[in-house]
């Protein structure tokens, strides 16, 4: 049985904008699927339709055989608790500690009072400590989330998603707010964890080189339609021209797209150094 099966998914926003125009996608093995495409191509809408943070207009989404589009609120919460999500802006509750944020991944499994008293089952606590260790935040469990750097916050976000023991990971531009070096570290962490835990992951990503280097499969969206689905090697300049429009892609494909304009508050000189380190990180 396919792990995730999307059939003819359509999302039309009020006002008539068709963000998704008949997308079909089947993921039948635990693989990392990179979703590429220019801004506004529907990447974010696709991911948010799966756990229905955005309500799809029509079509079918099956997770492990269960139809998600027709679930009522209560059943939807159950389904959401089996889908981990990682966000571009990390979306931590800033004023809570790292541990509280990680354990919030278990909210679907505990009662209101347990959540109120922060009284989580011992297994969950142990699993949370293990995950913090795994993502490289050992000993930081009592730090408040707003005291962490961007990369550290994203690590907490990853731990929170994996705390759900998900059947599927939805990852929305995990690196777009990070510098190139941290981007690569975070991406590598997500890919490793997905493979370790045999969890399929759908990763929206801007950075073509990073997508190629880290994924098992790439799909590309353009104007709400799927225009590419295949192995990362299949992304030839012709294909990229088709997805993004005319550009000299050879430089991007060979050297890696380090001058991604999403990198915020990074000075020019540090950018180059980070780019070099970034390539070394991927190469190792």
């Amino acid at each position: 049985m396919a792990m995730l099966e999307i059939t003819d998914l359509i999302k039309e926003y009020p006002g008539g904008l068709r963000a998704l125009d008949g997308v079909s996608l089947t993921v039948s093995e635990p693989q990392v699927v990179a979703v590429i495409g220019s801004s506004g191509a529907g990447k974010s809408t696709l991911i948010r339709c799966i756990n229905r943070l955005v309500e799809p207009t029509s079509g079918s989404i099956k997770l492990g055989g269960q139809e998600l589009t027709s679930l009522n609120r209560r059943a939807l919460r159950g389904a959401r608790s089996r889908i981990g999500m990682i966000f571009q802006e990390y979306n931590l509750v800033e004023r809570l500690t790292v541990m509280e944020n990680v354990l919030s991944g278990r909210l679907g499994a505990v009662s209101f009072w347990q959540a109120f008293r922060r009284n989580y089952p011992a297994d969950d606590v142990a699993a949370a400590f293990e995950l913090l260790d795994r993502v490289g935040l050992e000993g930081r469990h009592d730090t408040r989330a707003d005291a962490l750097s961007g990369g550290q916050r994203q690590r907490v976000g990853i731990a929170r998603a994996l705390m759900q023991k998900p059947d599927l990971l939805l990852v929305d531009e995990p690196t777009a707010s990070l510098d190139p070096k941290t981007s690569r570290q975070i991406m590598r962490l997500i890919v490793e964890l997905a493979h370790e835990r045999d969890t399929p992951a759908l990763v929206n990503i801007h950075d073509v080189a990073l997508a190629q280097a880290s994924s098992d499969r790439v799909i590309a969206l353009k104007d709400g339609r799927m225009v590419f689905d295949g192995a990362p090697d299949g992304l030839t300049p012709d294909v990229l021209n088709d997805i993004y429009g005319e550009e000299d892609w050879n430089a991007t494909i060979r050297k890696g797209d380090d001058d991604d304009d999403d990198n915020d508050n990074t000075g020019k000189s540090t950018l180059n150094i980070a780019g070099i380190i970034g390539r070394a990180v991927i190469a190792e």
Partner: protein, 270 residues
């Protein structure tokens, strides 16, 4: 300006506002003056009383001195009651206003009807002055501190509810979305996603309101709702000005101290 290549011509007149802008400003100015004059002329005021007001005021002040410090012991208990009314009222307000704020914030209210009810409670609570609330509760509970506490509470929930609801409407939606995506229930989303974000606002406004409530509770006694106002009102009506002076000094002290406490406590909230 036309660049002809010849010598430039400069305008002879410069005005800060265009004629229309000036007209609009003048129009507003006239309206304000007109309303003020109309109000003053139509008030039923006997201006003769105003002429010797400074003499009366001076007379009142001289009668107050020296203050009757022997009276200090007798006002300690009512003064304490004033503080108790303000504090207990603030605590009850704290408990009531949090759910009310969630009901009145657009992004957390269950539906438009609950939102409307929440907003209506907030507006009514804030429109009616504490002293008027006190009138109502004295009629219900009889004179005493009980009426005072409820008067303070009913006036404060509107104030705090409004500020907290505004804070709730401005929370980081990303964090809320992330908690929703974990499969959390609606209440859990409010508890883990929203409440921590607005907690500093809740604590800050509670302390701020407590400070205001101290001041408000000094006059509750005028309508019989407990506190130092009872003694103050009766002393004023009996023209016991030296006693009144002592009470005014006591109120001044308590208000200044509570303002200081409130400011210090609010600074420590992060």
């Amino acid at each position: 300006m036309i660049a002809t290549g010849h010598a430039k011509t400069y305008p002879d007149i410069w005005r800060r506002f265009s004629p229309l802008e000036s007209a609009v400003r003048f129009f507003w100015f006239v309206i304000v003056i007109f309303v003020a004059v109309w109000s003053l002329r139509n008030l039923d005021i006997t201006w003769v009383y105003f002429l010797d007001a400074h003499i009366q005021a001076g007379d009142l002040l001289t009668r107050m001195f020296p203050p009757d410090w022997g009276h200090t012991g007798k006002i300690l208990a009512p003064l304490l009651e004033t503080i108790h009314i303000a504090t207990l009222g603030s605590i009850v307000t704290f408990v009531i206003s949090i759910p009310l704020a969630f009901l009145s914030a657009r992004n957390t209210t269950p539906n438009w009807a609950t939102w409307f009810i929440g907003r209506f409670i907030l507006v009514s609570s804030r429109s009616i002055n504490t002293v008027v609330w006190a009138l109502i509760f004295v009629a219900i509970f009889g004179p005493g501190a009980m009426a005072g506490i409820w008067a303070i509470t009913f006036r404060s929930i509107g104030f705090m509810g409004k500020l907290i609801a505004e804070a709730i409407e401005e929370v980081d939606e990303g964090a809320v979305e992330a908690i929703e995506a974990t499969g959390a229930s609606r209440l859990q989303v409010l508890l883990i996603g929203v409440l921590p974000q607005v907690l500093p606002v809740i604590l800050g406004t509670t302390i701020y309101r407590w400070d205001i409530n101290i001041r408000e509770s000094t006059v509750l006694g005028f309508v019989g709702a407990g506190g130092i106002g009872i003694e103050l009102y009766s002393s004023i009506n009996l023209f016991l000005w030296p006693e009144v002076a002592v009470m005014l000094f006591a109120i001044l002290g308590v208000v200044v101290i509570s303002e200081f406490v409130s400011a210090t406590a609010r600074q420590r909230i992060t």
